[in-house]
Symmetry: C3
Subunit: 257 residues, 3 copies
């Protein structure tokens, strides 16, 4: 199985599928191609959430603002999974999530560089470099990765700097990681900080804490723990980003009375 994730929109992902299917007949599954454009951190967050839902697979990830520059191309083995994509930090967070079985992190990650043949294009390595690479990795199989021609161990790979929330006794300051398609505002604040409280001030606005959206009337703002385990600011049957005035990258301050 090969999964595909990118910020390409439509129809470029189909060119990657063609390039794969010319080389192997793997099952293809789209993770999504609407990731915020060229936003490596948002993609790393979403992939960390979603890829561990999958059985062992090759995951092709192309969020690549540095296409055509000299950034390396990587193959990263994480547990029984393999990621293929650019060396810009997008692969390591999901690799760590994939290497955490049963909630326990195991240091079971190998990274390799592979040679980029950019004779065909300088602007579409998804089609010309990474998709063929993913197909080759799929056909080789995870156990024989080290034997794959053109692959060499990567000494140092790019590490994303992810912002950590700051906790004091009665206050947490974090950041919006992503806004989903419902308008739910996903923060980097772990849900545990909410404890058993029933109310919290979000950027000065007192807001009820509930288990799920439908526990308040339509159009009411809430704070909840999202499916990702983090604090989420939302509106029942409405858009949290609009109600809270929050967008990706912006700070969020929670105060407990």
């Amino acid at each position: 199985m090969i999964t595909l994730a990118s910020d390409f929109g439509s129809p470029y992902p189909a060119a990657m599928k063609g390039a794969i299917l010319k080389r192997c007949d793997a099952r293809l599954v789209d993770i999504g191609h609407e990731f915020p454009r060229q936003n490596v951190r948002a993609a790393a967050f979403w992939l960390s959430q979603i890829l561990p839902e999958f059985p062992p697979a090759v995951h092709l990830v192309v969020v690549d603002p540095g296409v055509g520059t000299d950034r390396a191309a990587l193959v990263v083995r994480a547990g029984d999974h393999v990621l293929v994509g650019p060396d810009n930090g997008v692969l390591l967070p999901p690799a760590r999530a994939l290497a955490s079985a049963d909630g326990e992190y195991r240091d079971d990650i190998d990274a390799y560089e592979f040679e980029v043949d950019a004779t065909r294009s300088a602007t579409f390595h998804g089609r010309d470099v990474f998709a063929p690479g993913a197909a080759e990795v799929h056909e080789t199989g995870i156990d024989r990765l080290p034997e794959l021609e053109g692959l060499s161990p990567a000494d140092e790979i790019v590490e994303l700097e992810l912002p950590e929330p700051e906790l004091t006794e009665n206050e947490v300051t974090g950041e919006v990681i992503a806004v989903d398609d419902f308008g739910n505002v996903i923060t980097n604040i772990p849900g545990e900080v909410l404890g058993n409280r029933t109310v919290v001030r979000v950027n000065d606005e007192p807001t009820p804490i509930v288990r799920s959206y439908g526990h308040v009337e339509p159009d009411r703002a809430i704070v909840t723990i999202g499916s990702h385990g983090n604090v989420e600011c939302a509106v029942n049957r409405g858009r949290g980003d609009e109600a809270f005035g929050l967008d990706a990258g912006e700070p969020v301050r929670l105060e407990f009375a």
Copy 2:
């Protein structure tokens, strides 16, 4: 085969696919994940149109504004098909369409509740409840559904109230069910009311009735019978919703001279 329909946008549907593929290797087909958010009636309409095009399958349907509340989770057998989703009315209209073979309705529907294990999340039952449920139904097979552990007959399930058009001798008042991505305005008025007429007043505006969009000049407004069999207000190579000033849920009055 398992089909997937939701109002999730991207990338949440991929988490459901992963959850299914961890449990079985069914063929997956997307019905669509851009259904109007939390609009149970619009989803019920579209699914009634599209699911009967498919061969026997398990249909996973997650338009679920009540996620995390105590609404039940359902498995509904309809003819040779099975639907899996929340008990909020979204499943019955497509179930009835699926149980109508050759245009003849047969009372061939069974409904079951299944136990919701919400220990993992309260906000993403698509991933944590319904996708695993669909995988289990798929692996069990339609003939052995009653034997499936955790399944019990559902005595009463939610029934959507769908608006019926009002017909008088020279007038019909109906409602817009949905606007499609072309901007075509789909009403709940059956196409038969148009008879052999060639013109009709739509909310006071005289409009030609034609067989298809291309039978008038570009940018001309028309009334036609859509592929769903209902009256549709459209514009050749343009947007009917803008020309007629109509959106989902709004009333439409047709007058015949």
Copy 3:
């Protein structure tokens, strides 16, 4: 394998998939369903780029502003591929690209008309005519196409008039074919005209020519040769269409100093 391309958005493509899967169990791959609505030229461009990436397949193409009029339905064999869609010009450019193996054009194209049974609908031939046609072609196989019942050689089929760029010594005037989802402005001007130059005036604005987006600072406008081989006007990590004020169909003038 059957690929699907349309300007349908969501969820109509699923009805075509159901119609195919009722008739055969071919692998289905989406090319894209967000092609600019009813824009036959843009679809022909994108399909010429993407379909040749695929191994031999049946390609279902439904960008069909003339649905329900008397335009013919076509099956076009191009090399080892087959295209199925309306006779409005959308099929010939990708057919020629598919018939060009190793960059060499071979006159290896056959076109057939097939009978349209429009008893079911006049507005959704994707579901009622072309999808069943593609399934039948897939099951028959490319070698036995001429034996397929209802198929007859097409004497004359619609040819798109595609604008050619005008070249003088120091100037090229072309047209925007498409804007992709990144906002990159794709012109009909072949990349070769740029030669080894490092700067060009685009509609009077001096612009650097670079190999890829990341070779300039973020938000800087560039000209590059896109993955399609044509001149592309772009912005590193931004939108070229906004920076250059250009949209599909508009003229582009390149001047070399």
